[in-house]
Symmetry: C2
């Protein structure tokens, strides 16, 4: 595999990263038990031995994949700059960021599914993840408070509930596109329907919040 150039350079960081990249796809596509360490190794320029050298084993590799995937997400979530928008536009904006993010990271979505299939037992071992995700909700909570203060929004809604509402729509569209396509013959990710769903989500959320 490695041989194309003939050269053999040593680069611990590159080897580690390459293993993580390939493992992310493999775990996302085949699930934890479906993923094969031999297969992961074969798709890199290094060997299976390095998985054990750098990570310790299949499970720790999966853990590393999970942690990196969630960490990368955090950065993206923070790009939303909504302070200058009025509350309604700001909520719509936040929903769109989540929408775009889900669409752009199918592997991450699959990993969430894999992790839920295992009752999130691995995620509990990555304590660091817990506070990462709160930031998105805090941002939303701020906007909601502004909307309530302005007399635009209902005052009995919880930010985490709204976040769930948004997440569920975005998650479903990506995660369940295959069964949906098979059952109803409609591709939820078809490019020409993208704007439609994005707008729909915004309407949905702002409609729910409106007094």
């Amino acid at each position: 595999m490695r041989a194309e150039t003939g050269e053999r350079r040593r680069d611990a960081e590159r080897t580690r990263t390459e293993l993580l990249d390939v493992a992310t796809d493999e775990f996302a596509d085949r699930g934890y038990s479906g993923a094969r360490v031999d297969e992961i190794a074969a798709r890199t320029r290094t060997t299976k031995r390095m998985i054990y050298y750098y990570f310790g084993g299949k499970e720790q590799l999966y853990l590393a994949v999970l942690e990196r995937a969630y960490s990368e997400i955090r950065a993206a979530e923070r790009t939303a700059d909504v302070d200058h928008l009025d509350p309604t536009a700001a909520v719509r904006r936040l929903a769109e960021v989540t929408f775009d993010h889900h669409e752009a990271h199918p592997a991450f979505i699959k990993l969430v599914g894999v992790e839920n299939a295992q009752q999130a037992k691995h995620m509990n071992h990555v304590a660091r993840l817990v506070d990462l995700n709160s930031s998105a909700v805090d941002l939303l909570a701020g906007v909601l408070a502004r909307g309530v203060a302005d007399g635009l929004f209902r005052d009995d809604v919880d930010a985490l509930d709204v976040h769930m509402m948004i997440s569920s729509f975005c998650f479903f569209r990506v995660a369940n596109r295959h069964t949906w396509g098979a059952l109803f013959d409609r591709d939820l990710l078809a490019p020409d329907r993208r704007e439609h769903y994005r707008t729909m989500l915004g309407d949905l959320v702002t409609g729910y919040l409106r007094k």
Copy 2:
């Protein structure tokens, strides 16, 4: 395993059903590749040999599980009697039926996840399933038409989109409760929050449809 009573009766139907029951849980809990035929057999009163005798193999057993799970669903979906309700109440009713259904059938939800993880490649082999699921959408379409005719609902909404909106909320709540609990320390299935979410879904959908 079987030995408690000492007796050994022959009953093809019972053996088949028992295998399907156990296999449903095993596939739902561990995914297709994670499920073990030996484990399935061990949890029944019969032996692994019978899986091959009645179904042919692991894959065909999974197919049988999938088909039965979807078939059982259809019956439940039909219990909604909404013709006597005004459009808004009827939509709320349909959403609640889906909500209740998802909550009552976690194994089914998991199977949907398992199937999506495999790009629904097995489901495509069960052509019979396709028309099963349409009935729920047809029911919804009728109600929406009534609402539009009465001047209550927007006239630019598609029934399948509304169905997706409802499904995504219900699906997410059940399917992703583990990661959600781990990240936000909130149990989406806590009994004392059940009414809250059920109402929230109704508000969400009717709010979106309202003119």
